[in-house]
Symmetry: none
């Protein structure tokens, strides 16, 4: 299965299958709130989502739905995550899997999970992170020539999702992990106003309980690094949110 990309009129880059149909993703988690959250976010990417609450359902759905990627919680009620993985692999040998795992479980039995090019994120995750990892997995599982797709460009600002490198007008810029995710979210939605609530929901983990003004703070950080002494690209829409756009226009 090879995967193509196209750019929608809104300027968002989408992954598509060769026949133009949407990418299909299977989400497996026993907590309904999590599958809901993920389904919502992934549908917003333009993908087609199916979900399952246990291993048995996952296998069944996979067989019939034939997803291009799977999001799989390692902690399921009926069977071990590794067992599910094995059976999934029998059905869909080449499908990449994104594992969800508890933060403190990382050490002991992650062994081998990422070996086949798969990936994992720890709970609690941020939606941007899940989406980014999934995009990476799907891109790499598909046919060749997807190099350019890992680079986001807005005006003279570029962000490479593989190397995590960011530069404006050719000059490299160092960003922290949170700054990077925030900028990625902005750049994936250029010229679109994003509310603080949206940003908080996508960039911060779903269990974040802090003050909402972290967004303001990190926008401030980003401006210092990206807009410093230049024509600003990050703009405030008072009462609405923030947006990024090329400096020229």
């Amino acid at each position: 299965m090879s995967i193509m990309t196209t750019t929608s009129p809104q300027g968002r880059t989408e992954l598509l299958r060769p026949d133009g149909s949407p990418v299909r993703v299977l989400v497996v988690d026993d907590e309904m709130s999590i599958t809901e959250l993920l389904s919502m976010a992934l549908r917003y990417e333009g993908w087609q989502i199916r979900s399952a609450g246990d291993g048995t359902g996952a296998i069944q759905t996979a067989r019939e739905f034939r997803p291009d990627a799977v999001v799989l919680d390692m902690m399921l009620p009926d069977m071990d995550g590794l067992t599910v993985l094995g059976r999934l692999r029998r059905e869909l040998p080449d499908v990449p899997v994104l594992f969800l795992t508890a933060k403190d479980a990382v050490e002991d039995r992650i062994a081998g999970l990422t070996a086949g090019g798969d990936d994992y994120v720890t709970k609690p995750f941020s939606l941007e992170e899940v989406v980014a990892r999934l995009r990476g997995l799907i891109r790499r599982s598909g046919a060749a020539d997807r190099r350019s797709d890992s680079v986001l460009v807005v005006g003279d600002l570029t962000l490479d999702e593989d190397s995590h490198e960011v530069s404006r007008a050719g000059e490299g810029i160092h960003l922290t992990a949170t700054e990077f995710e925030l900028l990625r979210f902005l750049m994936r939605n250029p010229r679109r106003v994003l509310s603080k609530a949206q940003i908080l929901d996508r960039v911060w983990s779903y269990d974040f309980g802090g003050q909402a003004n972290v967004v303001e703070l990190y926008i401030s950080y980003l401006r210092r690094k990206i807009d410093a002494g230049r024509e600003p690209m990050i703009h405030t829409r008072r009462g609405a949110g923030y947006l990024i756009k090329p400096a020229a226009s």
Copy 2:
């Protein structure tokens, strides 16, 4: 059967058959978890994988699948590894074989086997090691002139997978086995951030149960030998992982 190479847009070098179709590898082991792990990793190399759980199945599959290489566990339920080898050889006289053997198993019998150009690794192995050995076997079994493919180059740093020689700016550097494998993995993925989990999964043996900070430790060793007093090539992306890139950029 001659084997060609090509370089994908991701910068990874792939082995291909002359007609452009993927290399075919047969994996034979009675432990399902091992065949799964290997299949996953080898598929990620872009190869086509078939697996068998015993000697009988191996012969059958080999006859029909006609692999370019075979990974063969010496300890199979139904017959001796040597017997399987003999029958395989009848079917596929020129196909190279990579033996899997327990660490404490008879070294002397193996010694004779590798004389024919075959190779072996001991369990528990690291995936990087298996992949590297297989690549070597396949390259050497194919048409000549694949010498250059065994050398990885990133900036002024070179690593020869055949001779295990490493040098930076022409100056030879001695690395231990683990350091070598870690550097190889980094250099096979230049300019790409690799997480500690990914590194552990590929470079350390699949049964490694230790602390994740061995990766930090070995990165530290590598830096001392490779970046010492020079423009650094190994970079930390805090919260994400490590990457290697030419010093220039």
